[in-house]
Every structure is written in structure tokens, then in C-alpha cells.
């Protein structure tokens, strides 16, 4: 109990004292996760809208694969990105390993299937609703995709937030490709892992509390958007 109380005390102190190191870790965590989510949303929403509108052989198989990839183990993604970016790998010449860019790449690989799969579920339903209207207007598939993405925007924001929730709490992949280097690639989750291994549990717990705070903030934003969406559902 004492340790938990200490952790809360340390967490508040760190936050209120504007500890430089803590804020740089939080800043990098946000930078990496928000960049990954932005790229994943651009890719995932396009894939989602495309698969909702286009029909071709293997369409269902792709959706099954995307659904399966939602549960992709982060360490496996980390390992794959590590092999690609390591000196002997195909993209080794870029020298990206142990940089925030490598961490963003790993998170993009991890989140894109999640964003795409959730987008398909949402946009397919919307497409089903609009289908006859679209066909009566003889719209191109591209015009249909644009309309679905616009009309489904509120739901897609929720999807993006779900992706952000996964990205900000992820540790396995970013640890492998980022290396948890102080002032360079250390983020919240890798810092927690490090402090735990060092035995400074109170500090690790304090960082955990701050991370949970982020997670709660994200969930609150989702709830707010959902309730707003319900009210505006028919907007």
C-alpha cells in the first residue's frame, strides 16, 4: 500500500515539478504514437474504404487476414522491423535502427491492420445503407469512397483513437527497434520496463500512473465522441 501511495506522490511531484526528463519522455511518446496513428489512419482508412466499395476475388481473404493481424504480437513486429532495418537488412543503409523513425515504422505495422479492420466493419455497414443510392447516381468507386469516409468521419475518429490507445501502451516492438536509449528513444512504456528492471518500483509505478492517465484521457475522448456521435448520428 505504501509503495502505491509513494508512486502517486512521485507521479504528482514529477508532473508538477515539470521534470525535464519526464516531459521529454512524454513528448517523445506522443510524437511517436501520434505520428504512427496519423500514418496508420491514412493507410487504414483508405484500405477500409477501398475494401468496402471494391469487390474482387480474394476480398474476403484479405479481410480475414486483416482481422487476424489485429492481434499481431508486438515483439514479432519489432523483430521483423529490426531485421529489415538492421545493417544487414534490406533497409539497413538508411541507418534507421534505434531511432524514433524505426519506432514509428514498427507502430505503423502494428496499428494499421487494427485501423483498417475496424474501418471496414464500420464503412461496410454504411456502404450497405448507401449502396442503392450510390448506384442510382452511378457514382465512381472513388466518389463512393470519398463519401463513405466523410459521412463515417465520426466513427473513424473513434477508430483512430483506438489505434492511439494501442500505440501509446505498446512496449515490445519499440523496445526492440528503439533500444530504449536515454534522451533519444526512451518513451513511457520502455522507461517503465527499465525502472522495473532496476528495482525502482515507485518511479516505475509513477510512470505507469501517468500512462494510465493518458489511457483514461483517450478513453474519455472516445466516450465523449461516441455520445456526441449518437446525438449527431444523423448529421
Amino acid at each position: 500500500m505504501g509503495e502505491i501511495a509513494d508512486a502517486f506522490w512521485i507521479a504528482f511531484n514529477l508532473l508538477l515539478s515539470f521534470d525535464k526528463e519526464l516531459y521529454s519522455i512524454i513528448g517523445l511518446s506522443l510524437k511517436v504514437s501520434l505520428s504512427a496513428v496519423a500514418i496508420s489512419c491514412a493507410l487504414g482508412f483508405t484500405i477500409g474504404a477501398g475494401l468496402s466499395v471494391y469487390r474482387f476475388p480474394g476480398h474476403r481473404l484479405i479481410i480475414i487476414i486483416l482481422n487476424a493481424l489485429m492481434g499481431l504480437p508486438p515483439v514479432v513486429v519489432g523483430l521483423i522491423v529490426y531485421l529489415i532495418l538492421s545493417r544487414s537488412g534490406p533497409l539497413g543503409v538508411l541507418g534507421l535502427l534505434y531511432t524514433p523513425t524505426a519506432m514509428i515504422i514498427a507502430q505503423v505495422m502494428l496499428i494499421t491492420p487494427l485501423v483498417a479492420a475496424l474501418s471496414i466493419q464500420m464503412l461496410e455497414e454504411l456502404h450497405l445503407e448507401y449502396d442503392e443510392f450510390f448506384r442510382s447516381l452511378r457514382l465512381t468507386n472513388f466518389a463512393k469512397m470519398k463519401t463513405l469516409l466523410w459521412d463515417g468521419r465520426r466513427g473513424l475518429v473513434t477508430v483512430g483513437l483506438a489505434g492511439f490507445g494501442r500505440a501509446i501502451s505498446e512496449v515490445g516492438a519499440v523496445m526492440i527497434v528503439g533500444g530504449n536509449i536515454n534522451h533519444l528513444t526512451r518513451i513511457m512504456t520502455t522507461a517503465i520496463a527499465l525502472e522495473t528492471s532496476k528495482g525502482t518500483l515507485a518511479l516505475a509505478l509513477a510512470l505507469g500512473i501517468i500512462l494510465i492517465g493518458f489511457s483514461l484521457a483517450v478513453n474519455a475522448a472516445v466516450m465523449l465522441l461516441r455520445s456526441n456521435s449518437k446525438g449527431q448520428r444523423y448529421a
Binding site: E129, E132, L137, R138, T147, D151, Q232, Y234, A235
Partner: protein
């Protein structure tokens, strides 16, 4: 009430022709060997009991379904929306975009590449026609059932289609909304749009129709003028339908 500023001269260059049109789904023949010609103008009413194939007939006409056999010809078939031979359709449950009433109408004009300077005026006129000016910024799906159907009809008419298909568009509306929808359809017909109106309401058919197509179990049993149809329905099934009986 309609936008008379359009440069389109409506009227189909040629009638719509069904030649031996059949539709089979899951080995069940739902539309059987329909032959008919729908003239350029006026209001054709499609009647028949539930499950007769009226909506399928309309969807075949709209190109939403392809016939298993036979041909449907008409200049509208390959026409782009908004061109002189285009087709619009209003469904029993209106399909409205998750946007405001104004944006719903603007959407089809955008798709038609309507110049921006004409857009506001056309949308305004369409909303006025549908008596939805006050609901201009209301999300479409928050409108009442009658208002939604009027919006769907206004959106269908704003592109000045040569053919307008109404699939039981007034089935769930109150008399006031039905009156407005019928008025909008009549105005459109008066300016040259061919209306094809599916309804169960015999009195409505008498009010709005010029000719009637009576469909029973996927077969077109009768195609007559309104006057002739109500004088002599032409089949025992149609007579039973008018009498409110199940045919023997």
C-alpha cells in the same frame, strides 16, 4: 415550384421498352417475361399485391438489377446523372446521407458538377419546393419521416431527371406529407419528367396516374390507362386486388 432556370429540356428522346424481361434469383423466377412500353411523359402507376415484384420491376428499370433474360432499352440507361436522359429514384425508406438537409441536396449537385454560383440557388429552390427551408441546417436523419421523404424527393428532382421512380414513397406518410409529395411529383411531371409511381393506394393511383401497370406474381397482367383500368381491370387478380380480396 420547380427550378425553371435549368437549361435542360426534359423528355426522354425515346420510350422505355421491356422486351421479354425475366429475373431469376436462387432458381426462383421473380419477374416473368415482362413486355411493355412506357411513354415519354406522364405518370405511370405500378400496382400489385405485396411480393408481386413491383420493387424488382423498378430496380430493373433503374439498372440496379440486371435481368436474367430479355432487354430493357431507353436512352436513360447509359445517361449520366443530371443529363437530359437521367434517372432518379426515391425509395420507400429514404436513403439520406449523414449530413444536413442542405448538404444532402448539394451532394447530388456536386456529383453533377453543378457550378458553385448556381448551387446555392438550386438548393434553396429545392428546399422551398419540399417546404424544408426552416430545416435547412437540420441533420437529415433528425427530420420526421415525412420531411425525410420530401427531402429525398427534392434531392432526386434537383438534378432534373428525365425519369423519376417512386417506390412506395408515400407508404408511411401522413396525408399532409403525401399531399406535398404528390404535388412535387405532379409539378415534375408537368415539366416533362416521366414519373413511375409504385403504390398500394387505389385512390392515390386515381389521383396521380395516367396509366397503370398491374403486376401479379412477377407477371405484368395489365397495362392500361387509369380510366380503362378502373372500368375493366382486365384480370381476375386485378379485380380481386381492387376488391381487397385474395384471388382464388
Amino acid at each position: 415550384m420547380l427550378d425553371k432556370t435549368s437549361e435542360h429540356s426534359l423528355q426522354l428522346p425515346d420510350p422505355v421498352r421491356f422486351r421479354d424481361v425475366s429475373l431469376t434469383i436462387n432458381r426462383q423466377e421473380l419477374i416473368a417475361n415482362i413486355n411493355c412500353t412506357l411513354e415519354h411523359t406522364g405518370v405511370s402507376v405500378v400496382m400489385g399485391p405485396n411480393g408481386a415484384g413491383k420493387s424488382l420491376f423498378l430496380r430493373l428499370l433503374a439498372g440496379l438489377l440486371k435481368p436474367t433474360s430479355g432487354t430493357i432499352t431507353g436512352s436513360y440507361i447509359n445517361a449520366k446523372p443530371g443529363t437530359t436522359s437521367s434517372l432518379s429514384m426515391v425509395f420507400q425508406d429514404p436513403v439520406l446521407l449523414r449530413r444536413t438537409a442542405h448538404a444532402n441536396i448539394a451532394y447530388v449537385l456536386h456529383q453533377q458538377k453543378c457550378p458553385e454560383e448556381q448551387l446555392a440557388e438550386k438548393v434553396g429552390n429545392a428546399l422551398k419546393t419540399a417546404r424544408l427551408e426552416r430545416q435547412r441546417e437540420t441533420p437529415a436523419r433528425r427530420l420526421s419521416g415525412g420531411e425525410q421523404q420530401r427531402l429525398a424527393l427534392a434531392r432526386a428532382l434537383v438534378v432534373r431527371p428525365a425519369i423519376l421512380l417512386l417506390d412506395e414513397a408515400t407508404a408511411s406518410l401522413d396525408p399532409a406529407s403525401t399531399h406535398i409529395v404528390e404535388g412535387m411529383a405532379a409539378d415534375a411531371a408537368a415539366t416533362g419528367t416521366k414519373i413511375i409511381f409504385v403504390t398500394h393506394d387505389v385512390r392515390q393511383a386515381k389521383r396521380v396516374g395516367d396509366d397503370i401497370l398491374f403486376i401479379h406474381e412477377g407477371r405484368l397482367l395489365t397495362h392500361k390507362s387509369i380510366h380503362d383500368f378502373f372500368r375493366d381491370p382486365g384480370s381476375k387478380e386485378a379485380q380481386a386486388y381492387l376488391d381487397g380480396r385474395v384471388p382464388e
